[in-house]
């Protein structure tokens, strides 16, 4: 994120996101825009933990905690719908962060990758079952409502869109800042070789846990914003493994460990998925949407195994290297790799 062209791209993207709901003001467009930005936030947040190379398939646990926090808080205190509830959404992030501490404490004891993945999946399922079974607190299978603002239908999506935008931008900035910091370097050292990282003085345990907790917070906020938008939550709609799939696929598709990857991935997957279902499923022949989605992923994965962003950066680097070779005798590839990040590991 150093070169001026990067900043230019970021500024244009931000501007596009800011004017989007005014240019494309239909509720269909703003709803899809909301979900796309929400998932940018979720994916960028997940990726903070992803820097360590530990793949969590259970961050929807924090999504659900955030969602239940806002629902419980608002209904128990009898709060009214309105802009104020977005502040309560922040509380959802806080509670998710606090919950991440013990959960991360247990899961990160395990250094075997597959076991870590399974533990995180188990978290989601267990929390979902708690939400079902602790009826006196969560209202069990009957779910909980979030008080709704009295905004008109045409306006309703706008504040939510911008809330998602703030969440997305904030999380991306946080993730970029971490990646450039000493802390971030430590995280990536852990990804490359945990023992070596410990050998050169990285307190790996503290680093991993910190990353895990930080990455839970924006997801918790996202869950709360979602609950507010959806107006009602059930255990199976917020502690939902398909949310994890959505997040992880966005990151992998875009490129793990990069700043831009999760953004690109989420902006492609969310609208593609929603539009595919919207326009192909109404013929009673469900199946085509899955087929197309699967084929799309296969093509992307086989053509760009390290994700869209790193692959494109790599391609750009090669051409620039080629140009450099023709200009001079020596090449300096090392400087560029930092932009793409991951590559192979």
């Amino acid at each position: 994120m150093k070169r001026p062209s990067t900043w230019l791209i970021a500024a244009v993207a931000l501007l596009a996101a800011l004017v989007y709901p005014f240019v494309f003001s239909s509720t269909e467009a703003t709803t899809i825009g909301f979900f796309a930005l929400l998932y940018v936030g979720l994916a960028a947040s997940w990726n903070i933990n992803g820097y360590t190379g530990y793949i969590s398939l259970g961050h929807s646990a924090f999504f659900g905690i955030g969602a239940y926090t806002i629902a419980l808080f608002a209904t128990r205190l009898g709060l009214q719908g309105g802009y104020g509830l977005f502040a309560v959404a922040l509380l959802g992030g806080l509670v998710a962060g606090v919950a991440a501490l013990p959960l991360g404490f247990i899961a990160l004891r395990v250094r075997t990758m597959h076991s870590f993945v399974i533990i995180t999946i188990a978290y989601v399922m267990m929390l979902q079952l708690l939400a079902y079974n602790l009826e006196s607190i969560t209202n069990g299978p009957n779910g909980l409502g979030v008080p709704q603002p009295a905004w008109s239908g045409a306006f309703f999506n706008i504040p939510f869109y911008f809330a998602a935008l703030v969440l997305a931008v904030g999380t991306v900035l946080l993730s970029a800042w971490i990646r450039g910091s000493r802390f971030g370097l430590g995280l990536m050292a852990i990804r490359d070789d945990e023992d070596k990282a410990a050998g050169v003085g990285v307190d790996t345990w503290k680093y991993k846990l910190t990353a895990y907790v930080i990455s839970a917070i924006p997801i918790g906020i996202g869950g709360a914003v979602y609950a507010y938008f959806a107006s009602y939550i059930y255990p199976q709609t917020v502690f939902d493994p398909t949310i994890d799939l959505g997040i992880v696929l966005s990151v992998f598709l875009g490129g793990t460990g990069t700043i831009l990857g999760p953004i690109v991935g989420a902006l492609i997957i969310q609208p593609a998925q929603q539009l595919l279902t919207l326009y192909t499923g109404n013929l009673g022949t469900a199946g085509w949407d899955l087929l197309l989605l699967g084929a799309l992923f296969l093509v992307v994965i086989l053509l760009m195994p390290s994700g869209i962003v790193p692959s494109l950066v790599e391609r750009a680097r090669r051409t620039s290297v080629r140009e450099a070779v023709t200009k001079a005798d020596e090449t300096t590839p090392g400087a560029q790799t930092a932009v793409g990040g991951n590559g192979t590991s």
Binding site: T27, T31, A230, T242, L276, G281, L292
Partner: protein, 468 residues
Amino acid sequence: MTSVKVCCMQYVIAEGRLLGGRIGGHAVGAGRKCAAMTAAPASVTIDLLIKSDGGGILLSIRRQATTAMFALTASSLLIAGCGTAKPAAQAAQKPVTIGTSLSLSGDFSGDGKSIEAGYKLWVDQVNKHGGLLGRKVKLVVLNDDSSTQQSLTNYSTLIGTDHVDLVFGPFSSPLTIPAEQIAKRYGYLLPDPAGGAPSVFAENYDGYAYAKPASVPHNLLGLGNLLMSLPASERPKTVAYATSNDPFTEPQLPPLRKELEAAGMRTLYYQVFPDETPDLQPEALAIAQTHADAVVLGTTSVPQVQAFVQAFAQQHYNPKVIVATSGPDQGSAFSSALGVANTEGFLVPIAWTPTANSYQNKQFIQAYIAKYGGTAASIPADAPDAYCVGQLVQELVTKTHSLKNADLIKALHANTFQTVEGPMSFQMDGAPAGTHMFLVQWQNGSTKIVWPKDSQQASLEYPKPAWH
């Protein structure tokens, strides 16, 4: 059937050109891309227009190809932007569009498709008889893949973007309240074929109507009366209950339990199981071991009932009475899953039966069989549920002589409506005001009303014969 989507495609093109012009000023690249992209759907549009009736598979393939191109080539900005269609100047003869989002794939697709069948059948019927206020009715069905997120997008699209005239409710349970909220925001009437959980009514939206003759907690109460009508010495003395944690199923059991316990029938087993439980063997074993006289199953699907019955049969456990909240109401889907012999004596609460003497029931059955084939016994309960939604709206429109949602909502609470499921009226929160439900029993391969007494078609077969 496909007309609104067709229109949508047209708007896409119109809007695409517009965008090309509008954005062209400061972001030439983007504008050009959108124009290029929309060139592709053009051919599809023509195709659709030519074959707008019954185009079937060819259409679907074409449209999927288009959508794939959308998804692959366009950025989210462009796609969504192209969806910003404003209906063109509306001619007086324009059809009445009714939008709905149903689960045509995913967990709830079984019910979702039956609801779709019921809605479509009603549209056929109403059009055959001159439509609504002389205008033809067009139904737009979007698929929500049983996902709340998709359902939110779908109802936003239908109501906020496409401005359909009326909406019908979704099927899958968790989607009802979000749909209700969107309807509320725009003041749309939301007649709903499924979604009678207490939480739905707690939203207190007067435009919501759970189009059933009775609310969910009343469903099983007939059973208590029925059992009390047996001679005291023969009544079941012990009962086992097991229910899915589904929000629309679980509330049905506690009122019944209270009633039966008050009547002296002891509870030997009462357990809730997660709806997604893949293996119901342990639950079934535990119930079989209690040897209770009566079994009450809070099931949500045919496979769940089948799992219990198979295990009961294997354990040679034969209760005298067995009732399930859902499954035995699914007509031939139920009898073919269990085998006709094992359906004998099964009880289920039901709002509709083919033999009921309710409003337009004969026409409904005739039309259903003509359109979808099968027999009266093979009609799944969801189809008449959906048909009622149409009938309700039709009567509202006829009574108010208006298609304005506000007028319809006002009339909703002032009238009683005749449907294939009997008369319906509604409280302010959308809950049915009545308590009328049938209790039917499978006898010799079809269902017979055994309760209430005044509609009784057969007396209760008691005790239920042994499994085969």
